[in-house]
């Protein structure tokens, strides 16, 4: 990684009290991200990827307990007062959620929602804010942007709503954009358009981005680094090309193998991962993936593997029996 980190997440843990007992949603995660870089966070539902993003945004549920430190642009976010946080979230830390129907206000027009943000945070007057709103909507590929200002979210398609949500997120030129499953609710052709849009705006604004997804295909072509999460922990982390070429963690391998491939013949049985992720209120003593792992041996069931450095730079994995890579494959 080059340059000082814009964001650094240090040993972050999130605990949620539930009726079934304490739920450790995020368990000791360390991450860092430089300005203008893209980090993909990949994992299945319940792996803690959304809670981690909420911890960064300081948008955790009220009952949640956060341990560890989140440093963003020189601020320790967990210790910021409400006003500082509000300013940071407005100007430099933006988010796009999965479902644009619930993240936009259904009873306000698109224009009101955009103009309000711009007036409040950029101190523009009404005319300037309106002009800027139209420019923003046009920049995210919304046709007839001027007319859209008077429309309500329900009058737009899912893809258009997500474009509006992106326009609002980009409106104050953030330094970091967190996109939490931004295309999961969208059709595949629209997904490609939205991912193209995010990539283009990111390059243009030299903005850092965290792209959270369950789809390894989405991160492959569009991120600099990838962190794979399982049961609240980062289990493998590497520059994107290294991760796909020399994955060491059996979970990453199994996750990639379980996706149906377009180049496979019909009726080829898929190498499915048996079982399911552990119950987060009943933590497993050893490696969380060990009950489903085909390489697991007795130490895997007793001790938790920590992230260790692979031979390649910036590549880390948490496994006692990493996948052996072919000789000479190390970059």
């Amino acid at each position: 990684m080059s340059g000082p980190a814009l964001l650094s997440v240090e040993n972050v843990a999130v605990d949620l009290p539930t009726a079934r007992g304490n739920l450790r949603a995020v368990d000791g995660v360390d991450l860092s991200l430089g300005a203008g870089r893209t980090l993909g966070i990949v994992g299945e539902s319940g792996c803690g990827k959304t809670m981690l993003s909420r911890a960064i945004l300081q948008l955790l549920p009220k009952k949640a307990r956060l341990n560890g430190r989140v440093m963003f642009d020189g601020h320790d976010l967990a210790r910021c007062d409400a006003e500082t946080l509000r300013k940071l979230r407005a100007r430099s830390l933006a988010v796009v959620f999965q479902d644009p129907m619930t993240s936009l206000n259904p009873v306000l027009t698109i224009g009101t929602q955009l103009i309000e943000t711009l007036q409040e945070h950029l101190e523009l007057d009404a005319m300037q804010a309106k002009k800027r709103s139209v420019e923003l909507l046009a920049a995210v590929g919304i046709p007839a942007a001027g007319q859209r200002l008077t429309q309500y979210p329900h009058q737009l398609s899912g893809g258009m709503r997500q474009r509006v949500a992106i326009a609002i997120a980009l409106s104050c030129e953030p330094k970091l954009l967190i996109a939490d499953e931004p295309t999961t609710a969208l059709d595949v052709t629209i997904q490609a358009q939205i991912l193209d849009l995010l990539a283009r705006e990111q390059r243009r604004r030299h903005m850092a981005m965290i792209l959270i997804t369950h789809d390894l295909g989405v991160v492959a072509g569009r991120t600099d680094e990838v962190a794979v999460m399982y049961a609240g922990r980062v289990v493998e982390r590497a520059p994107t090309p290294a991760l796909f070429k020399n994955m060491r963690m059996p979970y990453t391998e199994a996750l990639l193998a379980a996706v149906p491939k377009l180049d496979a013949a019909p009726h080829t049985p898929l190498p499915a991962i048996s079982g399911r992720p552990p119950d987060p209120t009943r933590p497993i003593k050893g490696c969380s993936f060990s009950p489903r792992c085909r390489y697991a041996e007795s130490p895997c069931h007793c001790d938790k593997p920590q992230l260790v450095n692979a031979e390649a730079p910036d590549h880390q994995y948490a496994c006692f029996h990493p996948i052996q890579i072919a000789a000479g494959a190390v970059a």
């Binding site: 299945e44 358009q193 072509g221 796909f244 996706v259 377009l262 019909p266 898929l270």
Partner: protein, 326 residues
């Protein structure tokens, strides 16, 4: 290896849909959900039906089961016309055709025990012998990989999404049907669970000699299980063909677009910038001529004026396009 597609152009298909039209009335407007769709499914075949949301693929599935009345056209199952049936005859026929839905949790009654949920179809079918019912329920639960002793007395909320989908599959199988319509059966499931359920469906198909209509928006998922694939856009069929052929040589620009849009888990494959911009138009006022023309890079005057009909481009492959790619 090419699949022998001639195997599926049988003289006696299990399901035959002829010129089916389904429309909805919405606030004084008409939604053209399914427009003049014809297709056949041979016994033992899996036909994948793909398209984006709102293209009418689910409506087509429902119209086959007569859960949606057709405006015109016919649905024939094993030579008998479902569209002409009513009441008891239709109900009896439906025992041979079952349905699996997208959201397994929502399609199970949260207040009923798993054993009762799966036994209900048997009860409706008139099986009064409770011991026999219990036997059949145990059998089908074991078949889908659940332990009957552990599962039968529990409620749906005690299970994960993947397990609920296994329960839904068990419920669909308990009447020993010949034909199952799977409507996005894995799209709400996580990657690792999705593969388990897809494998299970394939296993069940072989074991019980099923014929499947597999509806999904994910082309890779559809390819994994289908012998033939039909692509739908805004209520119309664009292309039908053997899976391998259709994915290797798509003839319709829309099929090509769908294939191109799938994110490939390989960092060396740079995502292609989308050629066809824009979004599907409203099915209330579909474009004249070819419905895909507003997003199609190959569209010209003819596409606006003249509706393309399905025609053969290769063995078993049909396309509705004036300017096909092959």
């Amino acid at each position: 290896m090419m699949l022998d597609s001639s195997r599926f152009v049988s003289t006696n298909p299990l399901l035959k849909v002829e010129n089916l039209v389904v429309e909805y009335a919405v606030g004084g407007n008409t939604v053209h959900a399914v427009s003049d769709v014809s297709l056949e499914i041979a016994r033992g075949e899996t036909l994948g039906l793909v398209g984006e949301s709102g293209c009418g693929k689910s409506t087509l599935g429902r119209a086959v089961l007569q859960l949606r009345p057709a405006v015109s056209g016919r649905v024939l199952f094993d030579g008998e016309e479902l569209t002409a049936m009513q009441g008891k005859r239709l109900r009896q026929m439906r025992r041979r055709v079952q349905l699996i839905f997208q959201d397994p949790i929502a399609s199970l009654n949260p207040r009923r025990r798993i054993g009762d949920i799966i036994a209900e179809p048997l009860l409706i079918a008139g099986l009064k012998d409770s011991k026999k019912r219990h036997e059949l329920v145990c059998e089908v639960l074991s078949a889908v990989g659940l332990d009957p002793a552990l599962v039968m007395g529990r409620l749906p909320h005690e299970f994960s999404g993947g397990q609920c989908q296994r329960i839904c599959i068990a419920r669909a199988l308990v009447l020993n049907p010949e034909f199952i319509i799977c409507d996005e059966p894995v799209s709400s499931l996580d990657v690792s669970i999705r593969a388990q359920i897809l494998n299970l469906l394939e296993e069940m198909k072989a074991r019980f000699g099923l014929t499947l209509l597999f509806i999904a928006h994910d082309l890779a998922v559809v390819k994994a299980v289908s012998d033939r694939v039909a692509v739908m856009y805004l209520g119309r069929l664009c292309e039908v063909g053997p899976s391998e052929q259709l994915f290797a040589h798509p003839a319709h620009p829309y099929t090509a677009l769908l294939i191109e849009a799938i994110p490939v888990p390989d960092p060396d494959v740079r995502p292609a910038e989308m050629v066809a911009a824009g979004e599907p138009p409203s099915p209330i006022a579909p474009p004249s001529g070819c419905r895909f023309r507003t997003r199609c890079p190959r569209a010209d005057q003819r596409c606006a004026g003249e509706m393309p009909e399905l025609r053969v481009v290769a063995s078993g492959q049909y396309v509705a396009c004036h300017h096909p790619l092959t």
